[in-house]
Amino acid sequence: MTKTLLSIAFALFFFSASAQIQDQDLLKTDKHEIAIKPGKLVNIFNAKKGELVKLECVDGTTISFTVNMNVWNQELVRTLGGKLEGNKETFITLTQADLKQGIIYEGNIISHKSNIAFKIFTAKEGTVYLQKTTKDNILVTD
């Protein structure tokens, strides 16, 4: 029993450490665009506030965040938000809209400590991408 608990604890620790590394690497990535794995987005919108969510990318990047918001904006449009596990000063917002032309996802990842940001958008063929950019290309003050 003790061994089992230790194994679980170790696995959780390892998982957490691995996710942190992935998140930190995300901010340092030199990739311009990273595709999110198809089908991995739908389910995370079932996450509840406080829940740890993993967003898996095609290149192996995993973005782990703790949900701080899951709101229906209107019928067929809802937005999930959270704080990245690997970088507590970085926040993700992801909106899912079930439009006539299909489900699209939009959002952003914004760091409060640096000018690095990611725009989340849905390409015409339906693939959802993280596009590396700068914060001032997403959010404008004044």
């Binding site: 506030k49 949900v67 701080n68 918001m69 899951n70 709101v71 229906w72 904006n73 209107q74 449009v77 809802r78 937005t79 999930l80 938000g81 959270g82 926040f91 993700i92 917002t93 909106t95 809209a97 439009l99 699209i104 939009e106 959002g107 952003n108 914004i110 409060h112 290309n137 997403i138 959010l139 404008v140 003050t141 004044d142």
Partner: protein, 981 residues
């Protein structure tokens, strides 16, 4: 009515009162384009924001409860109207109705939330927005923080700005000339009614805030086209509104007269949009038109459209154009038009601060049409200008009342001076002054005349002057042109000028004659002109010789320096120069160096300078000089003469007195032979064709005879084991070939030998010849002349016991020499002879001494020879059997009778002189040698000790001749002639 019923009624009334007092809620919502699919909702009454990045990123995912703006209806109206005007060109409905917003597609709407609640946002800001969210599904709200903006007008500006961000627009920024960003927000230019700033910059203090196409915040070279951005694809169909009025006469909108008035409105939606209105006049009428842009107060507050108004007739002829520079509205007053169709063309235009790109918006056109009624004839006129500059022309317009049919104009001072047309044009005034204009009109019945005295004032043109009047440029030089006589100036062409709008400009870099014109404008606005031609001359090229800047010259020589290529020259400084104002000069420096600047000026006045750095050094001025391979020789021999003169001689004349040949005219005469000893002069005269140099070298050659060494031995043969001596003569010193039987003596010129066998002795005798003539022009000034001689000494065995002489001495005794000797045994001695020699070699019998009983003998030599300094004595004893033996040779130095304390030898002397003297005590001696004229040639002071002492002197430095030697030892002194061979 029951109480309850009363209370219900009362509460309803109270509710209505409260609802009414709250004002804002009771007002009708505003819509700028009802029915439009695209909606920007201005939310003033508070809103709880949920489900956005604002929430997740800034509020922990929690709702953001934003308070109502608190704006009054008037403030809401201000914001709405300003934003409605900004978005007027587009198919966007600016609304305050949330229902309209809710009804719009999520990707075609945006909520602009005006709220004082900003504590959740960590930065100081007047507004904040997510970019490009108008056409997206997320973050459908942007914020205007009313508490940070001060008033509704600023909130309206911020509202359009933040909404612009949601419609993809970035900021317009300011950059300096280096393309460095100096301001994130472009603050525009100008002030007053036409003061302008971009909506996406900062325009709180400007009247016109417009969509613009100036640089974005990305780069000074990236122009952001706001209109294209707003109508771009990401905004999901945002486009320009449909044009509301036709753009040409054929599609003109007819104006409907209501009485004598008309009014309409329209929107200039694009910067190519032209709205045309049409009116038909049935009778000749005066028309007044006023076109005002939408504004939020007078004068044209926050208007976006700078109006251009053009009146045309049915043929398209322009009847009147009005585009006032400093105001945004346009108008036409009292335009008298004949019956017909007329068109009013309205569009946006540029002004001093904005390009016309964003001159878009709503306008209102109003007008009055007044029929022209018959009026009494009254002459009246108006001029296109009443104050002009000399040479300008004026158009005159008949403004007479009534119906004149003919016109008589008189233009005092004008050309033409009269006219009979209704509206004469181009009346030119050639001279300054104040002039009257008279107009007489006639309607067929009556005349009317009116003179406008002092109506036209003609100002003189400014008289410009340019200094210098005849400028020129040499090569790449520059020249300055200075214009005077006006207040402001404009130079042209700009090429070659460093500035064009200042009175002083500099011409730089022209390569041909260039004529420049300056226009000068005076206080009256009159402009005069002046031309000046700047002549271009090629640069003066000075050619210098020597071409190098550094010139090395010979001291005391004159060296030519030359510069050519110019007409006049100035050398500076003049020190050392033959002159300072010609191209060729001669420089002569005695020493050191000097830097000369030569400035040449050509016929064009162009000047240039070249430089010489002249360094003087000792070198080849013409000076005869010789070189001889040896200046000390042993005759007979030949020496090699070569020319070592400096300068550049071309002829030579040599003279070799005593030599063979005696003369030569060759540069290098080669061998000259001398056969006799002596001191020989050499002279050489050289010439370079102009100058000559002669130099005599006294005693350049010193020749001595070869020595002839003679060897004499007193006894031949010699008994084995006996000693004997060999005397040498004929040289100064000798070098013996070594033989064990040699016993080296104290005297170099004699030697004792004890040969054990018959031996041949070899000796080499030397004479040193020095030439200390002081010249440094010979390869060898010293030579050893030598001769080798030998002598054979036969040795035989003798059986007798050698004579033993215990001692033999000879010493001066007064004016005689006392000799004393003693034999160890004298039995075998048969004969005793005392011999004397003056040179140590040749002995003569002085006295045969009788053998005595005693072994000791003495003899006094009283036969002294005057002047003889040294005597040599020896005994010659004949032993039994005939064998001869000799004593050692005793040397006696005779003290001179007159100068008993000093002896000088040899005299004459070649090089080394021995001086013997007796000092009475320890002290100093002083020795000096003078030539016969008395010039001091040698001097030495040295320490002495009491008694007799020798001193050797090398007199080789003296030229051959007679000298006086002076010696002082203590209180004794002597002066004696010496001869230097």
């Amino acid at each position: 009515m029951t109480f309850n019923c009363f209370m219900k009624t009362y509460l309803r009334f109270l509710f209505l009162i409260v609802f009414f007092i709250s004002g804002r809620l009771l007002a009708q919502p505003y819509n700028s384009l009802p029915g439009a699919q695209h909606v920007i909702f201005l939310d003033f009454d508070g809103y709880t924001v949920t489900g956005t990045s604002w929430n997740s990123s800034y509020n922990g995912g929690n709702p953001i409860v934003c308070a109502a703006s608190g704006y009054t209806d008037a403030q809401v109206s201000t914001v709405f109207n300003m934003m409605a005007e900004d978005y007027r060109p587009f198919n966007i409905n600016i609304t305050t109705d949330e229902n309209v917003y809710n009804a719009a597609s999520i990707q075609q709407r945006m909520r602009v939330l005006f709220t004082p609640t900003k504590n959740w946002y960590p930065q100081s800001a007047g507004g904040v927005a997510y970019l490009s969210t108008f056409g997206s599904v997320s973050n459908k709200v942007c914020f205007i923080f009313t508490s940070a903006l001060g008033n509704a007008s600023n909130a309206g500006e911020a509202g359009s700005h933040e909404a612009g961000h949601t419609l993809t627009l970035q900021h317009h920024s300011e950059f300096n000339a280096l393309c460095e960003k100096t301001n994130e927000y472009n603050s525009g230019t100008g002030s007053g009614e036409t003061g302008w700033a971009p909506i996406m910059g900062v325009g709180y203090t400007k009247n016109m805030t417009l969509w613009s196409d100036v640089a974005s915040n990305f780069s000074c070279t990236y122009m952001q086209d706001d209109l294209a951005g707003i109508t771009s694809a990401p905004n999901n169909g945002v486009a320009y509104r449909a044009d509301d009025h036709g753009n040409d006469i054929s599609s003109a909108t007819p104006l409907v007269l209501m009485g004598n008035a008309f009014s309409d409105s329209g929107i200039i939606g694009t910067n190519t949009d032209v709205d045309v209105f049409h009116i038909t006049l049935a009778t000749k009428s005066y028309i007044n038109i006023q076109v005002n842009p939408w504004n939020w107060g007078s004068p044209n507050t926050k208007a976006n459209l700078d109006v251009s108004l053009v009146v045309k007739n049915s043929t398209g002829q322009i009847m009147r154009t009005h585009e006032p520079l400093n105001v945004l509205n346009a108008w036409v007053n009292n335009l008298l038009l004949e019956p017909g169709d007329y068109y009013f063309q309205i569009k946006g235009t540029a002004n001093a601060n904005q390009s016309g790109y964003g001159s878009l918006g709503k306008y209102y056109i109003t007008g009055l049409v007044t029929a022209a009624l018959p009026m009494p004839l009254a002459a009246s006129l108006v001029a296109s200008d009443t104050v002009i500059c000399k040479g300008a022309s004026i158009d005159f317009f008949d403004q007479s009342e009534g119906s004149p049919s003919s016109w008589t104009w008189t233009f005092t001072g004008g050309t033409p001076a009269t006219s009979n047309v209704q509206n004469p044009v181009n009346i030119m005034y050639a001279n300054a002054g104040t002039y009257a204009v008279k107009l007489t009109v006639f309607d067929g019945l009556t005349n009317s005349s009116r003179t406008y005295n002092n109506y036209i004032r003609v100002n003189n043109l400014p008289t410009l002057n340019i200094v210098p009047s005849n400028p020129y440029i040499c090569g790449n030089n520059t020249t300055t042109l200075m214009a005077t006589g006006a207040l402001s100036y404009q130079w042209s062409p700009a090429g070659g000028l460093i500035n064009t709008n200042l009175p002083r400009t500099t011409v730089n870099g022209i390569s041909e004659n260039t004529t420049y014109t300056v226009l000068g404008t005076d206080v009256n606005g009159c402009t005069g002109s002046k031309e000046v031609t700047v002549q271009y001359f090629p640069p003066l090229q000075l050619i210098k010789s020597p071409a190098t800047e550094r010139v090395i010259v010979c001291r005391y020589d004159s060296t030519e320096l030359s510069v050519s290529g110019a007409e006049n020259y100035t050398w500076s400084p003049g020190t050392g120069l033959s002159n300072t104002n010609t191209g060729n000069v001669k420089v002569r420096l005695d020493e050191g160096s000097r830097f000369y600047t030569v400035t040449g000026t050509d016929a064009n006045g162009c000047s240039a300078s070249v430089y010489f750095s002249v360094l003087a050094r000792a070198c080849d001025s013409l000076a005869a000089n010789v070189f001889v391979d040896s200046s000390a020789i042993c005759t007979p021999t030949c020496v090699m003469f070569t020319d070592s003169s400096t300068g550049h001689p071309t002829s030579w004349h040599w003279s070799f007195p005593g030599g063979t040949p005696a003369t030569s005219s060759l540069q290098n005469p080669g061998l000259v032979c001398y056969t006799a000893p002596g001191s020989y002069d050499v002279s050489l005269t050289v010439s370079d064709g102009v100058d000559f140099s002669t130099r005599v070298f006294p005693g350049l050659i010193v020749a001595a005879d070869m020595p002839v060494v003679t060897m004499t031995a007193p006894v031949i043969p010699l008994c084995k084991g006996d000693t004997s001596g060999i005397k040498l003569n004929g040289a100064q010193y000798y070098m013996w070939s070594f033989d064990p039987s040699l016993i080296f003596p104290a005297f170099p010129d004699s030697i004792r030998i004890i040969p054990q066998d018959t031996t041949t002795y070899y000796v080499k005798g030397f004479i040193n010849v020095f030439n200390n003539n002081g010249y440094n022009n010979s390869g060898n000034s010293f030579v050893q002349c030598s001769d080798t001689e030998s002598i054979r000494i036969n040795v035989v065995n003798c059986s007798t016991v050698p004579l033993k002489i215990l001692y033999f001495t000879a010493v001066q005794n007064g004016e005689a020499v006392l000799t004393q000797w003693k034999f160890a045994e004298q039995e075998s001695v048969n004969d005793i002879v005392l011999e004397r020699s003056l040179d140590g070699i040749h002995f003569e019998t002085l006295q045969q001494v009788m053998k005595s009983q005693n072994d000791s003998y003495h003899w006094v030599d009283k036969k002294m020879i005057a002047g003889t300094p040294i005597y040599y004595y020896r005994l010659r004893c004949q032993l039994e059997g005939g064998r001869m033996i000799y004593s050692d040779i005793e040397k006696v130095r005779i003290q001179n009778k007159n100068n008993p304390w000093v002896s000088i030898r040899p005299n004459p002397v070649i090089n080394i002189m021995e001086l013997g003297f007796i000092a009475d005590k320890n002290g100093q001696a002083s020795l000096s040698i003078h030539d016969m004229p008395g010039k001091l040639m040698y001097k030495e002071t040295f320490e002495t000790i009491k008694g007799y002492q020798d001193k050797k002197m090398n007199l080789s430095s003296l030229l051959p001749g007679v000298y006086l030697l002076h010696l002082q030892v203590g209180e004794k002194q002597i002066t004696q002639k010496i001869i230097r061979l």
